[in-house]
């Protein structure tokens, strides 16, 4: 419970990164904290230092630059819809943001934090006591995956609603570290390893999300969950139909990373769906069974294609 030793509220990007480099022990950046703090309460987040980013005004912008929109990583999920440029161009992003957690959480949770929200598993997102009783799994330094009984890897599920949509829209993130700034497609950061789900350096900050505006593109987002609020997804699907007839399908919550399927609008869509159902390594680590979640991929994609006028 009493995990971190200290807490710093950074005022600038540079200060945040500097503190990260200076600290001897473990640390974690804190945006809204709606993921980190709950994990801390459960004893899964034990960093000695929390570097709070919420005081950094340079991360709160939304600007349209030529044919792309740049969204500061600290923009709150609830605020996305208030920006006309976002609401007009990326309604599916607004849908996805709106599907995260609950209304009050969305007033704190940030888009950057959502992209890096930790992977989840019913056997892992539990208190310290619980995990001890169950026997620690891979993701908390144990040597087994409780969900599969396997000894190889952790498949805790990737859960970010907004990332699912952003990837389908070919969004990039701007990443800043001590000496460099780079812009990379979001999908490249996910490793597929449930324990270390992204490959960003610990000291790297996401400063912005950059989404290309391609007039005429259309994206449909869907989320499977038991309740209409609060719940994490048991499956998310995002399908973007480009002007040029290409399709980018992204699946969330059915694998340790987002699953991407590229296709063309005039492909045999049944086959595309079949491929999508087959591709993720889905395991029984959720309230809905593996089988059902897989089956729903098909239903959700079919419906998305119908809404896009493709079926």
């Amino acid at each position: 419970m009493i995990a971190e030793q200290s807490y710093i509220k950074a005022k600038t990007i540079e200060q945040a990164i500097k503190e990260a480099y200076l600290t001897q022990g473990s640390f974690r950046f804190l945006a809204g904290g709606t993921d980190v703090i709950v994990n801390k309460f459960q004893g899964n987040e034990t960093s000695q230092l929390l570097i709070d980013l919420t005081g950094i005004d340079a991360l709160k912008h939304v600007v349209v630059i030529e044919s792309q929109i740049e969204i500061g990583s600290l923009v709150k999920l609830d605020d996305l819809k208030k920006h006309k440029s976002i609401a007009d161009n990326f309604p599916a992003l607004v849908d996805a943001a709106h599907a995260v957690a609950s209304p009050v959480i969305r007033k704190t949770a940030t888009i950057g934090g959502n992209i890096l929200c930790d992977n989840r598993c019913i056997y892992y997102n539990q208190t310290e006591w619980w995990r001890k009783a169950a026997g620690y799994c891979f993701k908390c330094n144990g040597d087994i995956c409780i969900a599969t009984g396997g000894k190889n890897n952790c498949l805790a599920k990737f859960v970010s609603d907004t990332a699912t949509v952003l990837i389908s829209m070919n969004a990039c993130i701007e990443v800043v570290d001590n000496d460099k700034t780079s812009v990379i497609p979001i999908e490249t950061i996910y490793t597929g390893d449930g324990i270390h789900p992204n490959n960003l350096d610990r000291t790297s900050l996401i400063t912005a999300i950059i989404i290309p505006i391609n007039k005429g593109d259309k994206t449909i987002f869907k989320k499977l969950r038991q309740r209409e609020s609060i719940d994490f997804g048991s499956l998310m699907t995002a399908v973007t139909l480009r002007n040029n007839g290409s399709l980018k399908i992204v699946l969330g919550a059915v694998d340790a990373k987002p699953i991407i399927i590229e296709a063309k609008a005039n492909d045999k869509l049944d086959e595309v769906i079949a491929e999508a159902v087959k591709k993720p390594k889905t395991i029984n680590n959720d309230i809905f069974s593996r089988k059902y979640r897989k089956e729903m991929i098909g239903v959700y994609l079919k419906r998305s294609f119908q809404e896009l006028g493709l079926m």
Binding site: I2, Y7, V104, K132, A133, I146, F232, R303
Partner: protein, 930 residues
């Protein structure tokens, strides 16, 4: 530690705060603003919502240090100059407050929501926006309906000319039958009502528990040496210090405060640390070393009914070598005969997973000892039985124990047992000579459980082709978990409560309860009969289909009458079954709509029946069921003292209404003091839906006696005929107004040379029932009846079920406070939707998987259907002013009605709860032959 400055409610604070401290704890524990509640500490319930720089945030996951220079507003600051905020007023007026634990968070969320609402798209859109906006705030009591109404009215009025609002002047002089807020609603909406964990005593030690990580294991040794060395640790208790067993039932005294020689479930308390702070106590728990020797565990009904060979039983009880806790069987009429007379028989099997009460307030308690012995302030539904259990376990006379129930954040049966944590803090308080307090985390609340039993049952029913019920036979097994709790009663209720509301001449059941190595199950709203009612109502639906009769008609044909007896010798007096069903048929337009709905839509119906207070006490004794004292003093105020326990259902208000009605005075002249076992006379507590009937009758009895005292004194002084006196409108007068006294003038007359007058009223149940063994189960002086019709929408490609509308009607005899009754009904149906659609206790090797409000899925406002509550009044001959229960019975019909609606929609018969989208889909496909 770091220095932080911020403003809370306009006042500047400079505090030293730990890096890991959350805003919620700083507000509550450092600043003392306990209006902000903690329900989950994981961002999943919304109880802790406050405003930071004018934005709603969850204070339980907001680091305090983040709030440097912030402007923080908590519930305590909404009222200005003594006047409630208009939104708070709406919450009070509309009855949006029951237990009130979710209220501060709900109000703060709503305050930040309302300016963003778009009012230009009509009422329906507004309601949806409100549902959406509060969908992260869980309320277990209200079903959200009155909360939504309050917010909607607030915004609509905000946007109209304030002068055009007509506020109904509440009629001062009428009491019974008038809708009114709870007497303490204002205190709750201000955040000023103190719940168990809000009460802080000087010099208190904080307690944390070390809990077992094995389902079934011998404790070989416990080493507390290292833990005791930790600075700030004052006492560590282990099981051997408190070996005396307790339990709510005399026949099931099978639990100890902490595990003594072995643990029986994952989560059982093994040791308890009292320290200067909770953090230190938690750290110390980690330093305690326990050596366990795991032994074979039993995790399911099937495991536990079998002979266990050389293994160890969970409890050494019973003569068989298995883990069966209780077996019971009762048979009435002749079932063989019934089967022969039936033209059609059907037999179906059902399975139900465990359900937790999900009250929003976690258990908490503070205990101390002084010259008066032990005092414990605790979140309990049954101060009286806890009083007895504490005296037993602490080995002190009954007169050395005082139990106080403060405001209580919901119970639903989950706070109606004496609990280990209550024993432990009492014990450590004695050992250390200091107050000791404890609050459970949400996970610990789930481990404490006592919720609805997982059950399996096979039921057989027979019916003639004309639709007459001929036979009902049920075979029921329930999974009790590690200890007895109410289980023996639960076992019986599963069976006996099937003997109504329909005429049945041949009826029988066999039921058994097993121990398993899981958190124990006990009583939960609708106790014992919810699952078996589901089975029977589903089968009736099926039979109606088979013989091609409208399921409503079939039920109407078979209802018991009023003033009759059931086959098991229950005395039925008032009975509103018929009215209830006819009402919901009419309201839902059943006749015109059934069979004619859009694809995927379905209508379902079911009925229910419940006791209105158990006629027998839990621990056999000759005390009246309830005693109420009234004291009238020179100031004209009547003080009601009652041991009954208001758990958010409004029983304190009910007592005041009854006394006011009898004496013809306004509620402002009444003061209720309840649930303090030193000051208030015994009432058995809030369980079995007994309080309105029993404490209400005792209050009425007392009020009549007080009235008589007043009459006598006036008759004596004025020489007037007693029969001529009227008590209304705060006056006592004769019809010809020859005599016309104000209340205070009458009080003056009564007080002459006498002073304050105290009277005592009581309620004793009549002798009821048969002479056979088991005849006492389910006996009640009165029974309640109800019906629900539900509309669902089933997505035929995903199998997901959405409940759209619930039309319900419940015969509560007489609604003493219609708004409160509606609140109970709406809350019951909301809870039923949860059990039907989303709630379940899921285990992994005896370890509860979903022990938090994120994974245990209480329906949010968005998941809760439109609820249309209808009150049926049958004026019970023995209820106070004709009233009977409304708190539990209503939940029975809604769950099977949902399942029957699913059948109507897609032809899938539900035999397992919660309804799983996956199962529905599989069956839809099977039906289609895919």
């Amino acid at each position: 530690m770091k220095q932080i400055s911020f403003k809370v409610n306009g006042r500047q604070y400079d505090l030293l705060v730990n890096s890991h401290e959350m805003l919620s704890t700083v507000l509550r524990e450092r600043i003392g603003l306990t209006g902000t509640k903690i329900g989950c500490e994981q961002g999943s319930c919304g109880a802790c919502t406050v405003l930071v720089n004018n934005e709603a945030v969850l204070s339980c996951i907001t680091p305090a240090l983040r709030c440097e220079n912030a402007d923080i507003i908590t519930i305590e600051a909404l009222a200005k100059d003594g006047e409630l905020h208009r939104l708070q007023k709406k919450f009070v007026e509309k009855g949006a407050i029951q237990c009130g634990f979710c209220t501060p968070g709900m109000v703060m969320t709503a305050i930040s929501l309302t300016p963003t609402l778009d009012l230009n798209n009509g009422k329906e859109s507004l309601i949806h926006q409100i549902k959406e906006g509060i969908s992260g705030n869980l309320c277990r009591c209200t079903g959200y309906k009155k909360v939504i109404d309050a917010v909607a009215e607030y915004v609509l009025e905000t946007n109209t000319d304030p002068d055009s609002i007509i506020i109904n002047p509440s009629d001062e002089t009428k009491s019974v039958g008038v809708s009114r807020p709870y007497i303490e609603a204002e205190k709750k909406v201000r955040g000023a009502a103190d719940y168990a964990n809000d009460i802080v005593m000087k010099n208190t030690l904080h307690c944390k528990f070390l809990r077992s990580i094995y389902p079934h294991a011998k404790i070989e040794s416990i080493d507390t040496t290292e833990a005791l060395k930790l600075e700030g640790v004052h006492y560590i208790a282990t099981g051997k210090e408190l070996p005396i067993t307790f339990g709510i039932l005399t026949v099931s005294q099978d639990e100890t405060a902490m595990a003594v020689d072995k643990v029986r479930y994952v989560g059982e308390i093994v040791a308890a640390v009292a320290a200067d702070t909770e953090d230190i106590a938690s750290e110390a728990c980690k330093l305690i070393k326990v050596n366990y020797i795991p032994i074979k565990e039993y995790l399911s009904i099937d495991d536990s009914i079998n002979d266990i060979g050389d293994n160890e039983r969970i409890h050494n009880q019973g003569k068989f070598n298995n883990n069966v806790h209780k077996k019971a069987e009762l048979r009435f009429g002749d079932q063989q005969q019934g089967l022969q007379e039936a033209d059609i028989t059907t037999k179906m099997s059902f399975e139900f997973l465990g359900i937790n009460h999900g009250f929003t307030e976690p258990h908490a308690a503070t205990a101390y000892w002084d010259e008066n012995g032990l005092t414990i302030t605790t979140a309990t539904q049954v101060p009286h039985y806890l009083h007895r259990a504490l005296a037993k376990v602490m080995e002190v006379p009954l007169n050395r124990v005082r139990v106080i129930k403060p405001y209580l954040g919901g119970g639903f049966g989950g706070k109606s047992d004496p609990f280990p944590h209550e024993m432990i803090v009492s014990h450590i308080a004695r050992k250390t000579g200091r107050p000791v307090s404890v609050r459970l985390t949400r996970e610990e609340v789930f481990l404490t459980n006592h919720g609805r039993h997982p059950s399996k049952m096979t039921v057989e029913m027979g019916i003639t082709k004309e639709g007459v019920f001929k036979v009902l036979d049920a075979d029921i097994a329930i999974d009790g978990g590690a200890y007895g709790s109410f289980g023996v009663v639960t076992s019986y209720y599963n069976g006996v409560l099937l003997q109504a509301p329909y005429k049945l001449n041949n009826f029988g059941f066999r039921t058994y309860r097993v121990y398993t190595n899981k958190p124990q199950c006990g009583a939960m709203r609708g106790h014992g009969a919810v699952n078996s009612r589901f089975a029977v109502e589903s089968m009736i639906d099926d039979l109606a289909n088979t013989i091609n009769i409208d399921p409503c008609e079939l039920r109407l044909m078979n209802f018991l009458d009023s003033n009759t007896q059931t086959v098991g010798q229950y005395r039925i007096t008032s009975n509103g079954s018929r009215e209830a069903l006819l009402k919901v048929m009419e309201e839902s337009d059943w006749k015109n709509r059934i069979g004619k709905l859009k694809e995927g839509h379905g209508l379902g119906v079911a009925c229910g029946f419940f006791i209105s207070g158990s006629a027998l006490p839990i621990i056999w004794n000759e005390l009246p069921q309830s005693v109420v004292h009234l004291k009238l003093d020179f100031d004209g105020r009547v003080l009601i003292t009652s041991g009954s326990s208001d758990i958010g259902q409004g029983s304190d208000t009910m007592l005041a209404i009854i006394v006011a009605e009898v004496l013809g005075i306004g509620m402002d002249k009444i003061f209720v003091l309840a649930a303090d076992t030193l000051l208030t006379p015994v009432d058995f507590g809030s369980y079995s839906s007994r309080v309105t009937f029993m404490a209400g009758n005792a209050a009425k009895d007392a009020a009549l006696k007080l009235k008589q005292e007043i009459v006598d004194s006036i008759v004596k002084l004025k020489g007037i005929n007693a029969e001529e006196l009227n008590f209304t409108n705060n006056r006592i007068f004769t019809n010809d107004k020859q005599l016309d006294l104000s209340w205070i003038e009458a009080v003056d007359i009564l007080m002459v040379k006498r002073g304050a007058v105290s009277v005592s009223g009581k309620y004793i149940s009549p002798k009821l029932g048969g002479d056979f063994k088991g005849a006492g189960a389910g006996l009640s002086p009165s029974y309640t009846f109800g019906a629900c019709i539900v509309e669902v929408k089933v997505d035929t490609e995903t199998g997901q079920v959405k409940v759209i509308d619930v039309w319900g009607a419940h015969d509560c005899g007489k609604a003493l406070n219609p708004m409160a009754v509606e609140g109970q009904l709406e809350g019951s149906w909301h809870m039923g939707v949860g059990q039907a659609i989303s709630e379940q206790m899921k285990y992994y090797k005896g370890l509860l998987l979903n022990n938090n409000f994120l994974d245990y899925k209480i329906p949010t406002a968005l998941d809760t259907p439109d609820i249309h509550a209808h009150i049926i009044e049958t004026i019970d001959p023995e209820g106070p002013f004709g009233a009977k229960e409304a708190g539990e019975g209503a939940i029975h019909p809604v769950i099977p009605a949902i399942a029957n609606a699913v059948y109507n929609a897609v032809g899938v018969r539900i035999t397992k709860l919660p309804i799983s989208a996956e199962d529905v889909l599989t069956q839809i496909k099977e039906n289609k032959g895919i």
